[in-house]
């Protein structure tokens, strides 16, 4: 079959923050650049980011990149690479100011500077006291950011392929990445994008969990494609959870609800946080609250028919206070839980929010693998940035507002690296003869299979397995059985069947292709989590408790290392954490406490 070939200098997969930022660098350098996106760019999930973007501008009070670096390393529970972290925090001011020049409507101080607000974990003078570091545009920071960058790309003649789904990475016999295959949803046509540089900016894969704050679009397409191309995934056991998502829906209930007096209760109506955190109670830190909720559910004190959630009670608050101070909460309860929170408590569960691991990259944005003891062996022609990538700056847990910073800094860095690598001007490398074969075979199998697995049921089985076996609080025996279960689900995910065979706008086919990506991420997460026998950051195991020998359950002697999950044979290897920053002394290991 003859497949159309479109030739570009660079293709970027994903048009969220990282993709748009990369594209600006490439297009403004005069390179012919294509951006593929499943949705219109300003409908990418970056829109949902509200908290702001961290930069030590010092507009409101004294701040310094070195303090930001300290907070990020500490937040990462020392699993973040300190060279990448120094690179990111030192680039922060430049990237935020550039964005301002692109037209981003940041909130302002009275004297016209970018207004900065406080955020959890942002401290001055190496953890001494809170500092105002987050730059925001009201509650629409991500949204405003995307608009500014999209317009800049239009000006720079970036070519957008909207409602296209990338299918597979194309690598030649030498391992060089020479493009991607993609499907136009409107026609079902598969096309080869033949390129000299390929940048993945596909976002996270939070939909692997049953309860997730992520929009449906976050199906880990970049990670799935990388895995199918034999590239290991790094630190996939680390996922940030938020304590209060609406049970069954995942929609986030802001911490402000507990701040206003909301109380968590179990099936016996008991205010259980009094037992876990006698002083802070319901206002204890996210991880403490999440773990307490999970323990209540696991010990049979959950609510509902399946005893699988707890209750967030605000019925004792004045309805006027709820309407005035917590706008939108009542509607969220009505829409997503069928509950009027003025009269009844809301069902909530710890909910997946952000993926710390991903495609391994150097801080230059180049994708790297381990070869012959060199852990920074570049995969030529391949770059990644944003939530799909692991630079690694978030390590075992991400500092708030560093996600938008990550996509700005590493989006730009990946774009710059591609521009630099393409300067030599070499021609496109030849496409392998079977460049599209793998993608066509996958689509054909999904279209023609009889008696295969149902996509919706398979996705649900994966999500429940991940939630129950690798949730916010992890147990050795559950992880072990979770590995067996997810490998069973994988068999179904590799044998999907769809009823709709039409070419145009076949959403069933698209969802089946997304499912093949999700399962790669789910498997990597479960197996990596089972293998890491310590607690660190967001990976907290019941069998690695807080002891004098291992504070917080963290075991640096054995586990201060990055996980590399090899999707080809499900094996796991490790690589060292880079403790040496670029110009300053390393932030020395110590117990992470706030």
């Amino acid at each position: 079959m003859s497949i159309p070939v479109l030739k570009f200098d660079a293709v970027i997969v994903g048009a969220g923050g990282a993709g748009l930022r990369s594209a600006i660098q490439l297009s403004e350098a005069g390179l012919k650049t294509a951006v593929l996106s499943k949705v219109f760019p300003t409908r990418s999930h970056t829109v949902a980011a509200q908290g702001g973007v961290a930069a030590s501008l010092g507009n409101s009070e004294e701040d310094h990149w070195h303090w930001h670096m300290y907070d990020t390393v500490k937040g990462s529970d020392w699993l973040g690479d300190q060279d990448a972290i120094e690179f990111m925090v030192r680039k922060a001011n430049e990237c935020v100011v550039e964005l301002e020049h692109y037209g981003m409507p940041f909130d302002r101080t009275d004297d016209g500077k970018i207004y900065q607000r406080p955020f959890g974990g942002h401290m001055s003078n190496f953890g001494e006291k809170p500092v105002r570091r987050s730059c925001a545009a009201a509650d629409r920071t991500g949204h405003a950011m995307l608009h500014a960058m999209y317009q800049r790309n239009v000006k720079a003649n970036t070519q957008f392929f909207v409602e296209w789904m990338a299918l597979d990475l194309i690598r030649d016999a030498d391992g060089h990445v020479v493009g991607v295959t993609a499907m136009e949803m409107e026609t079902g046509q598969v096309v080869i994008f033949h390129t000299r540089a390929t940048i993945f900016a596909t976002g996270g894969a939070g939909r692997i969990f049953y309860s997730s704050t992520n929009a449906f679009i976050n199906t880990g397409d970049g990670l799935g494609m990388a895995a199918r191309a034999g590239i290991p995934l790094e630190d996939m056991e680390f996922w940030q959870f938020h304590p209060t998502g609406v049970a069954g829906a995942g929609v986030l209930i802001t911490e402000g609800v507990r701040g206003e007096g909301g109380i968590l209760r179990n099936a016996n109506k008991e205010r259980f946080m009094e037992r876990y955190a006698p002083n802070a109670k319901d206002l204890a830190s996210r991880d403490v609250v999440s773990r307490a909720m999970t323990t209540e559910i696991n010990e049979g004190r959950g609510c509902g028919v399946n005893k699988d959630y707890v209750l967030l009670d605000i019925t004792h608050l004045d309805p006027n206070t709820i309407m005035k101070r917590l706008p939108g909460i009542r509607e969220i309860g009505l829409q997503f839980a069928g509950v009027d929170c003025i009269k009844e408590p809301l069902p909530v569960v710890p909910t997946c929010h952000y993926q710390m691991g991903g495609i391994p990259t150097h801080y230059s944005g180049r994708v790297v693998v381990s070869e012959n003891g060199d852990h920074n062996t570049v995969v030529p022609g391949f770059y990644a940035a944003g939530e799909c990538a692991c630079a690694s700056v978030h390590g075992a847990n991400r500092l708030g507002t560093n996600s938008l910073l990550d996509l700005l800094v590493f989006g730009k860095s990946a774009g710059d690296s591609a521009v630099e690598d393409l300067k030599t001007g070499q021609a496109h490398r030849d496409l392998p003869k079977d460049a599209a074969e793998k993608s066509l075979a996958r689509i054909s199998a999904i279209d023609n299979r009889k008696g295969g697995a149902n996509v919706h049921e398979t996705r649900l089985a994966m999500q429940r397995t991940m939630q129950n076996h690798a949730g916010v609080f992890r147990f050795g025996d559950l992880l072990k059985s979770g590995v067996e279960k997810i490998l069973e689900v994988e068999k179904a995910a590799r044998a999907l069947e769809i009823k709709d065979k039409s070419m145009a706008w076949n959403t069933a086919r698209t969802e089946a292709l997304e499912m093949e990506n999700l399962i790669e991420v789910a498997k990597a997460t479960m197996l990596s989590a089972e293998a890491r026998k310590e607690s660190r950051g967001a990976h907290v195991r019941d069998d690695a408790p807080d002891t004098p020998e291992f504070p917080n359950g963290r075991n640096d002697a054995e586990w201060l290392k990055h996980t590399l999950f090899n999707p080809v044979d499900n094996s796991i290897t490790y690589k060292p954490v880079t403790m040496q920053p670029l110009t300053v002394e390393p932030i020395a290991l110590k117990t992470r406490s706030y």
């Binding site: 999930h45 949902a48 409602e163 949803m185 997730s212 679009i217 509607e331 829409q335 706008w505």
Partner: protein, 80 residues
């Protein structure tokens, strides 16, 4: 509505930037959309093109709806 037009609309409803809209609009397409008149369906196509925050604030009643054509559709979305 033609199949291709409906499926395009469906994709644009089930892959939003905000999870709130993914869920609310999926339910609406499954339970409420077919009950609208042809004219109302076209109005919904127009609404589906709105920015995510704007549409969600309308659905959740956090902003006032100024277009009377949207009102019955907002009710149908909330009731789906």
């Amino acid at each position: 509505m033609e199949r291709a037009d409906y499926e395009r609309l469906r994709w644009r409803c089930i892959r939003r930037a905000l999870l709130e809209l993914d869920i609310a609009l999926t339910r609406f397409l499954d339970n409420g959309f077919a009950k609208l008149s042809d004219e109302q369906q076209q109005v919904f196509v127009e609404m589906a093109d709105m920015e995510d925050h704007d549409l969600w604030y309308l659905i959740s009643g956090q902003t006032e709806c100024e277009d009377p054509r949207y009102l019955p559709i907002l009710v149908a979305i909330r009731e789906s």
